[in-house]
């Protein structure tokens, strides 16, 4: 693994235990997920439904918040869409029989709790604490 990737990973882990900056969110995954970093293209593809597996081949279960600034920042930074574009894309998939919308949560705590309990789950939060039984994923270009 290159030095750059190690650096990105290290920064990702540091970010997990502290508040995320206002410009980004913390990516969280179930502790059973074997990868520790995820490519930007893979992350986007998982959240728009064109990819259902992580790079290691295991099943990915994307989850989202129902709305709010953390949701908006995640979509803008990691999916490249606005909330309405994201919603429209999933509505199209749902109402044409081509996909199932990611489970959405009212609060970050509910999302983290679900991610902790669901194999393959991946989501985001503004911050996590050491008590949260989830792992942090680093997004790499």
């Amino acid at each position: 693994m290159s030095k750059t990737r190690w650096l990105i990973l290290l920064l990702g882990f540091i970010g997990c235990w502290s508040a995320a900056s206002a410009q980004d969110v913390v990516l969280v995954a179930n502790q059973g997920v074997r990868i520790s970093e995820i490519g930007a293209a893979d992350l986007r593809a998982i959240f728009i439904g064109t990819k259902t597996r992580f790079a290691d081949g295991s099943h990915a279960v994307p989850v989202t918040l129902k709305g709010g600034p953390v949701h908006e920042v995640f979509l803008k930074n990691h999916v490249g869409e606005s909330p309405d574009q994201f919603r429209a894309q999933w509505r199209k998939a749902v109402f044409t029989g081509q996909g199932a919308m990611p489970r959405a949560f009212d609060s970050e705590s509910a999302l983290i709790e679900y991610v902790a309990a669901t194999p393959g789950a991946v989501g985001y939060a503004s911050r996590i604490s050491p008590q949260d039984k989830v792992k942090c994923l680093a997004a790499v270009k």
């Binding site: 064109t50 597996r53 199209k92 749902v94 109402f95 029989g97 919308m101």
Partner: protein, 378 residues
């Protein structure tokens, strides 16, 4: 007509408490819309639109469940009323099992939506569009059942072409399609004396290739669709030998801007038999549209398109053989679930959307229309 509004309100209230219910993995979603149409001259889409009509309601409920990581099953029930078309009968919009082997290959079986051009499979999902009416030269709302879905299956997947070449999405399908007995074509046949009691249908097959270009937001694609149609009524029959529809399309989204365009060619030779009379009906429809829109804010979205159809098999100087439509549209999202739309149409030609039974005094070549809609989706 008036009873449609209470129905709309009732559905909104009931579904408002559902909000995309997820009952132990089972997902339930739905939508309902109520529209109003007023036209300056002719009556459009079997409605009494020249005096203003509310007879335009649409709704659907879908239920799906992921049985395993790879297998998902679901069904969507759909009901619509469009003037004299549709009615109170609930139809199965799609019902399928979807087995996704991996991200490059999957297949669906059952009743599945037919991919054809940019919007054929999603044309009923009003909540995702700015427009009240999609370009009618291609997505004719009164005749959509002809191409909308088929009983059979499809294979689908995505192939990465490398970081500099984008991605290729493919879909191939085959099955049997039938006309909606309450739809526009069957009504036109009935107006001509051919009353079908069993739905005409035929085999369909085809494929779609969609290239997501390395330029972010740009999609180019092409569909080839082959279909045949046969039906027998007490007074005669319809026979359409296999014909091929070719569709080419492009869309580009950048920031708050969206642009799209399509070109379709539909050449067919229908043969109507009514009693002893055998009537050939040649069609060579050339259709295209170009659309653009801009999202002024999260709630306000405005746009315009031009839609053009001409039947080259007929006398193209006659209004009945062409339809040209300039459209301006606006949409306002009250929240993530409720929205309203308003749309103006400036129609030239009578080649689409008009019926003799609702225009007994004949048609004027031009008409302006105002459409408004409220919608709810969860």
């Amino acid at each position: 007509m008036a009873r449609r509004m209470p129905l709309f309100v009732l559905v909104c209230i009931c579904t408002g408490s559902l909000y995309a219910q997820d009952l132990a993995g089972i997902e339930i979603h739905g939508f309902v819309t109520q529209s109003f149409l007023f036209s300056s001259n002719n009556n459009y889409l079997t409605m009494q639109s020249s005096t203003g009509s509310l007879q335009w309601t649409d709704g659907a409920v879908s239920v799906s469940d992921s049985l395993t990581d790879k297998l998902r099953v679901g069904i969507q029930l759909h009901m619509y009323q469009l003037g004299e078309l549709g009615g109170s009968n609930v139809q199965i919009d799609w019902a399928s099992g979807d087995y996704r082997v991996n991200d490059h290959f999957g297949f669906r079986g059952g009743k599945v939506k037919t991919v054809l051009g940019l919007f054929n499979d999603s044309q009923d999902v009003d909540a995702i569009f700015l427009w009240i009416l999609l370009p009618q030269s291609i997505y004719q709302i009164d005749n959509k059942s002809f191409l909308l879905s088929h009983v059979g299956g499809e294979v689908y997947g995505e192939l990465p072409l490398g970081s500099r070449a984008g991605k290729l999405q493919y879909r191939g399908y085959a099955g049997q399609a039938t006309l909606d007995l309450t739809g526009g074509y069957v009504k036109q046949f009935a107006d001509a004396g051919l009353v079908f009691t069993t739905a005409p249908g035929g085999k369909v097959y085809g494929g779609d290739l969609r290239w997501e270009a390395p330029l972010k937001g740009l999609t180019l694609g092409s569909t080839a669709h082959i279909e045949a149609l046969d039906g027998t009524a007490p007074a005669g029959s319809i026979h359409v030998p296999p014909f091929q529809i070719n569709a080419e399309y492009a869309q580009f989204q950048k920031g708050k801007f969206y642009f799209a365009g399509e070109y379709w060619r539909v050449p067919l030779n229908a043969i109507l038999t009514i009693g002893p009379a055998v009537i050939p009906v040649p069609v060579d429809a050339r259709s295209w549209y170009a659309m653009g829109s801009y999202r002024f804010s999260e709630k306000l979205h405005l746009g315009s398109y031009y839609s053009h159809l001409v039947n080259k098999a007929g006398d193209t100087t006659q209004p009945g053989n062409y339809s040209k439509d300039w459209v301006v549209s606006g949409r306002y999202d009250f929240n993530a679930y409720f929205y309203g739309k308003i749309e103006g149409h400036f129609l030239h030609g009578t080649g689409l959307g008009y019926y003799n039974s609702t225009n007994p005094n004949g048609l004027k070549p031009n008409s302006n229309m105002l459409a408004a809609r409220i919608g709810f989706s969860f």
